[in-house]
Symmetry: C2
Subunit: 146 residues, 2 copies
């Protein structure tokens, strides 16, 4: 499975648990999976338990270093400002994301974290990967809640 | 002790552990301390283990809710974009901080998280409380490392 397929699988699993369906994975330079997770805000009573935060922290714990140099963060939705800033702090080399998020995103929208001159580490960013599949999961989830 | 005094105590304790001296505390509407912590980036190998993230998560875990409605986050340094966004997600009512951070801050500087039209919850912000004491801790810490 490719990283975005793993992230999609985690997003679907999050939806099944009643969480907003966003999934993420951190892979190293060899493409090996260091951490994978879906959103766990509800389960952990933790508003910061976005999929990205969980995988960044878990990957760093696994490497025993707060620096994920050379690693890629792949996520089904454009990261929010919190997660974008965290990815910069963890020094990830690359962020790949699926659906764009004009309302909550912080990479290509809103706070545009990496565009700030004060941002010390700016990862390479690739957006729109498997965009339709990633967006469809979110759309179905919110449609089912109305 | 006032919240900023508790935060200063946590910042000093962080410095003694070799961590960047930033301390934070979450208090509820009655002023009761729900969580207090200093920066633990080095100890946890977690670039997201800023004092604010630790106390927000711990306070929410204690309340069994991802919403810290009515609560105040008090911290010795202007929160970075990650922590400012997290405070918004956790729905804190008020942020009180000590020193301003023109380089890394995300409240009055840089990404200015709460100024984005997409920011759903904007806490009340009071900056510059015990500013000199909070800044002095950071200054001494970095001077000692040179």
């Amino acid at each position: 499975m490719t990283p975005i397929e793993i992230a999609l699988e985690e997003a679907a699993a999050a939806a099944a648990r009643g969480e907003v369906p966003v999934g993420a994975v951190v892979t190293d330079e060899q493409g090996q999976v260091l951490a994978r997770a879906g959103n766990e805000v509800e389960a952990r009573h933790d508003a910061a338990a976005h999929a990205e935060m969980l995988v960044l922290r878990e990957a760093a714990a696994r490497l025993g270093s707060p620096r994920l140099t050379g690693c890629t963060l792949t996520v089904t939705l454009e990261p929010c400002p919190m997660c974008a800033q965290a990815a910069s702090f963890f020094r990830v080399r690359r962020i790949v994301f699926g659906a764009y998020d004009p309302k909550g995103g912080g990479v290509d929208h809103g706070a545009r974290i990496f565009a700030a001159s004060s941002c010390h580490h700016v990862p390479e960013v690739v957006g729109g990967v498997r965009e339709q599949d990633c967006a469809a999961l979110l759309r179905h989830f919110f449609a089912g809640r109305r």
